[in-house]
């Protein structure tokens, strides 16, 4: 009897278990996420895909950290005394290990990560049905603007980069493009975006690129190629086109760098930073939307002090007084320097000067106006393009086109905000001399735009890095340029690992 019972139990038990196993399919759904095949179906998907592309501004290889090392510190405005020697070496043309993550690879990777996101939008949104076609067009146009922006900076930094224009697959090994091809793609994307993007956005969408943002970058791309006529046509938008009267200079120069007066009338395009999230810089929940720039550029014993300004800037500011006989007020908001307290009765994060007497630190975007320390969560929007820059670009283009007389007014507008005399009064020897005008304009740009990540492109555009003699002149301001080899250091080396892993790529010349 007992035996029978065992047998019964034994035959039933495994059966029950076997049955339950069968029911458990091997196909286990991932309960944590949505899959790609469920996505790219709705208008909201399209908008979210686009937003994810904007989030790339917050990544350390790009605008939350390292790109300032490439654009500001490598130029003659800045340099590094970082105890992290390799980091500093990468601001003074001592590129030893081309795979240095912080100096090279991360910026490269994040550039293409951003490109990948824009490519996803461009490839997938086309097939999504929208109730309002213009809404869809605007999404595509924004993606094109963002892609062009990232390729613009890739062209400035590495020049000969591969153009990836379709969503990536793991085994992609794209073909290298020439600098001319990269510029052509930037022009194409921007030209197409310009046809769609609005002159102004409604309040909830302020911060997305306007037609003016596009025209600014289109002009920059043309100017880097010295296509002055095309550049002028693009910039005409702000003066005779639909953008005329939409922009102006803010009264207080300082308002261009704080978090309290963002997206103002001077702003042509700015990165929308926020300190709402206090997370890491990966693609995880609570990921940071902030910039680390002030933490990395703040003076020693306040921040990492990995980058600082060359002292010649202080001297340059002090060469000319305002019409009221005062020191150029832009100096106060551009730099921390030894005489700051004496000159403006201002302090450095609440401290008196405690650094070397020949040192200066970048002040723009520093948050000492409301706190005495820094962290990784700065919320100040970074002004990629200000109207003051547009004015100076326009002046430059006009001068190059031989319209020097016409160019004066735009420089004067910038100068007059800070109560500097008109250019003709202050520098009567320039006259209609194109070269003299250009030389002065170079200084006008530094005084207005130092520390705003335009100087490296300026030096390249002006040809100041094309001959040994010219480089020697730059080296007088910034001795790091003594390491500069003409024809080599004008562009970064491609990450070595990328060249090794992709036989379609050739390392940049002389590396």
């Amino acid at each position: 009897m007992k035996k029978t019972l065992y047998k019964v139990i034994y035959f039933i038990m495994p059966l029950l278990i076997l049955v339950s196993c069968k029911k458990e399919k091997l196909n286990v759904e991932n309960p944590n996420v949505i899959t790609e095949d469920q996505f790219w179906k709705t208008e909201s998907d399209a908008q979210q895909g686009l937003n994810a592309a904007y989030a790339m501004f917050y990544k350390p290889g790009l605008w939350s950290r390292w790109i300032y090392f490439r654009l500001d510190l490598t130029s003659d405005e800045g340099f590094s005394k970082s105890p992290w020697v390799e980091l500093a070496d990468w601001t003074r043309f001592q590129y030893i290990n081309y795979n240095f993550w912080e100096g090279n690879v991360q910026s490269w990777r994040d550039t293409y990560k951003a490109v990948f996101r824009t490519n996803q939008v461009l490839a997938n949104v086309a097939a999504i049905e929208f109730a309002d076609q213009t809404k869809k067009d605007k999404i595509l146009a924004q993606a094109k603007f963002l892609r062009a922006l990232h390729y613009y900076y890739a062209a400035i930094m590495w020049e000969n980069v591969p153009l990836v224009l379709e969503p990536s697959k793991p085994d992609d090994l794209p073909v290298q493009s020439t600098l001319a091809q990269v510029w052509a793609q930037v022009e194409k994307d921007l030209t197409e975006a310009a046809q769609v993007l609005p002159v102004e956005w409604d309040a909830p969408n302020v911060g997305r690129p306007t037609k003016g943002s596009v025209m600014a970058y289109l002009a920059r791309a043309y100017m880097q190629q010295r296509k002055w006529q095309e550049a002028k046509t693009a910039l005409d938008y702000f003066f005779t086109g639909a953008g005329a009267g939409k922009y102006d200079l803010v009264a207080n120069y300082k308002d261009n760098f704080t978090h309290t007066n963002e997206n103002n009338k001077e702003s042509v395009y700015e990165i929308q930073f926020s300190d709402v999230n206090k997370g890491g810089d990966g693609d995880d929940p609570n990921a940071t939307m902030s910039t680390n720039r002030p933490q990395f550029f703040a003076p020693r014993s306040i921040g990492w002090s990995d980058g600082q300004a060359r002292y010649w800037l202080v001297n340059e500011f002090k060469k000319e007084k305002t019409t009221e006989g005062k020191i150029d007020p832009r100096l106060q908001h551009s730099l921390f320097y030894p005489a700051l307290e004496a000159d403006f009765n201002d302090k450095i994060y609440g401290r008196s000067w405690q650094w070397d007497s020949d040192e200066a630190w970048f002040r723009k975007y520093a948050r000492d106006y409301y706190r005495n320390n820094e962290d990784y969560f700065a919320q100040n929007n970074f002004r990629l393009v200000r109207f003051a820059d547009i004015l100076l670009m326009y002046a430059e283009v006009l001068n190059e086109l031989g319209q020097t007389a016409n160019a004066y007014q735009y420089v004067d507008k910038v100068r007059s905000r800070v109560k500097m005399a008109s250019l003709a009064v202050a520098y009567p020897t320039i006259g209609m001399d194109k070269d003299k005008f250009r030389d002065r304009l170079k200084m006008e740009r530094v005084l207005e735009l130092s520390g705003e990540s335009v100087r490296w492109a300026d030096l390249k555009r002006w040809g100041d890095l094309e001959t040994a003699e010219k480089v020697a002149k730059v080296a007088e301001r910034d001795p790091d340029f003594n390491n500069f080899q003409v024809g080599k250091h004008i562009r970064l080396p491609l990450p070595q690992i990328e060249v090794q892993n992709n036989s379609n790529l050739t390392q940049n010349p002389q590396y």
């Binding site: 091997l26 996420v33 790609e36 020697v85 793991p170 090794q500």
Partner: protein
Amino acid sequence: MKMKKRLFHYAMGTCAALLFSMQLLAQHSIKGQLRSANGEPLSGATIILKGTNKSVVTDEKGAFSLDVPVGSTLVVSYVGYTPQEIKVTNQSALDVQLQPSTAQDLQQVIVVGYGTQQKKDLTGAISLVKASEVQKRQATTVAEAMQGLASGVYVRGGGRPGSEANIQIRGIKNLSNSNPLYVIDGMITTANRDFNPNDIESIQILKDASAAAIYGSRAANGVIIITTKKGRQGPMKVEFSGKSSLEVTPRFELAETEEFARLNNMAYDNAGKPRQQLDMSVNTDWQDEAFQVGNMHDYNLAFSGGSSNGSYMVSGGYFGNKGTVISTNFDRLSFRVNTQGSKGIFSIGENLAISNSKTDEMSGNPYADVTRLLPTIPVHDPANPGGYGYGNEAKARTFGTNPVAIANLEDRTNENFRVRGNLWSELKFLPFLKYRLNLGYETSNDHYDYLRKEGNWTLNQPYDPAIAEENRARWQSGLVENTLSFNKTFGSHSVNAVVGQTYQRDDYARISGRKRNIIRSSTGEFIDVLDQGNEPQTGGYNQRAVLLSYLGRVEYNYADKYLLNAVIRRDGTSRLSTANQWGNFPSVSAAWRISKESFFNVDWINDLKLRASYGTLGSSNIGYWDYLATINTFSTIAMGADQHIESGATVVRLVNDDLKWEKLTQKNIGIDATFLNNRLSLTAEYYIADTKDVLTAMPIAYTTGNDGGNPVVNAASLRNKGFELSATYREDLKPFKYYATANITTLKNKVLELGYGRNNIYVGNTVTEIGKPIGMWYVLETDGLFQSQQEVDNYKNKDGKVIQPTSKPGDIRFKDNNGDGQITNADKALVGIPWSDWELGLNLGASYKNFELSMNWFGAFGATVYNGMKSLVDRFDDNSNYRKGIQPWTPENTNTDVPRAYYGSTLNSRGDTKRFLENGSFMRLKYIGIAYNLPPSLTNKIGFSNASVTLSGQNLITFTKYDGLDPEFNNSSIYERGFDNYSFPNLKMYSLGLQFGF
């Protein structure tokens, strides 16, 4: 046909002989006394009348009586002794002395997965590790304690409290995870730090494909089968063992303030930079601050017993480890109940282990920090937020972290409460047919706690408020196994077969929370609960994987001479896409016992067996949903005049959706032999293991924009070839006994193919290339130092171009391998292999009367390793402390290989050079112990059945030329296995152990 005929004759002959002998039989009562070699009575031994079921067991005094026919044969056997056959004559009393077994190895029962075999019947490559050897050593995990105890098993660990050693069987089979599968009492799991090694009864390591094939898809990295202790028939036994140890970390030899200042000033002077204003009044020994004498306590108490139809074993253990680094700790409480019972054809049993482990984790890496901090920095500095010294821009510039500060300002604990066990029952329908149901279950509740207090530990650190973080998670794994086994002998033919079906489901779920600005109580303590603070962040996710398998095995044995074993397993996994879920993994192996052949007649060879096997194993050891393209929905952006937050969604990580099973094909030949009256036993193996379609997250081009980890791909093909030799010699020269075991392993790995059509993978200073071993060193070659400006000027390529025009005397001369007249990445060369040519384990033991001495040596030879510490402190371009006695080149001191000290430039201090590669060979005394077993006369008086005291030491002596802290270091990256990046070293340990039972 011929065979059949022979079999027939053989069978007929046997029958005839039996008939003949029966006629002669006359019953005869015989009494006997059984003793051990030194005269002690042996109780509980079995005496069987050969060829029958008739048997008796000796009583407490070792006596027995039995009615047997004259002329018959008695077989006397007792565990641990050589069985003896005795011819029955007319005598009425027998006095039998059994000799301790020297060939007991061969009789050992081996758990092979869903069944057991005797060691002599093995056809595959299986190593046994003696539990007693493992338990001798003071170790957190069983893996760590296995170093050198079996051939073909690579172990690297370290002395961090709660750390788990890296273990790898027969080389690197894939490029991701090399940890083997653990099967503990039939539960498929891991023997992590929650598992108490003292509960182990036996360990077997399944190394080749045929041995491991029954575990199919899970066995590509080998299988470690652990059986825990069971009760034995008899009254309750109580066993206690306790060990207390002191731990001492090896230390760097670093400069003190005076020497440091001289070198630091030299580096600044050479660079033309103003010297630092070093504070010469401070001379901090950071190693004294960060390190301490650690200790370990391990106490275990076990109760066991049983009857003829049931047994029990209850054990409890406490393991405590105060680390050699300040503020590190590990504690484990464990509890186990193993019971089993049977009635008639039904039996049932369970193994249940409950443990709670708590780790006070290390913050930062103090081994790096003690070398980076300058001796001129004080430990405390009230001028800094938090009050700790970490340098100062003018006086002591370094990015090092103050280890005391980080230890106090960051609290990190991990606690795991784990229940692991299985319930099994068997029904023996027929004597040869058995059904077994095995239900396994494991769960752990994991709790992670983090508190970051306000304050700084490094120069220029960004401000952080007090932050509290907590994770709680639950892991569960359920296993259901149905097996049916058949076991029958037909004359000389013996067949053993098993078929089965298994199902395992793993679940993991986690939630986490984080708050900032944690407040303090009035006493200054942080109230680190998540109700406090602000700016909350939360998170959570769930994971699940299912594995469904069918398995079958047939073992055939003819007269112990010919052995054949065939296995098939079919696995389905949820980790691959529907089309590729199923894989088949067959294997076959055979053995031939030559020594049983009639033609074999060599006196000094007692047993000789040849083995060969061929089989395929699989792996899907990847993430839960690596084949699935998903959308990352975590992006947020600020937008609008009000800077409101909008969400984003996009593909971040690329995937390969056509992933399939990784397959390992392994061929193995082996020989087992015993010689000289079983005094010498020897096992030798040679194998070739090919892995195809290796599932790995192989680096892809950055231009893809991929992030969040490289996509998993069936990328590479790898080959491992190896030879393993294990030899034991033991001899009993009463009262002196000794044994010696040597385990020798050689292993060569080679890349046959790489994914995406690529020829190489570069990681750090290594390259992995087709036709070469994984992770070869790929660096610039150096050619001494320039001794004069003339040497610099004369160092030209064939076109007369000066190769290093900016160099100065005292700088490194690099080899311009491509002859282009400049030093670039193109000059790098393959200069060394990070893998050992061979490894040696030596286990020696001797006993004299009541004293026992044992030693385990372990050595690895031929690896080229990268000294990460030297690459950091010998550079001079960046401030760290320096090695004591280092002699940088100066015009006065040119006889050195250290270039001139130069602050602030990497040109002379780059890490991607041959300069930091060293010979990593070493030989180490892993364990030495002397034990005293109290004589029975003494133990009886105090009511103990046995008692012993052991004094032992671990890692006491090391022979090596390696200049780093520990040549036996661990780097978890497969591509950079030879990179000693401040790995936590193995520690010297001094232990006192006490063990007794009653």
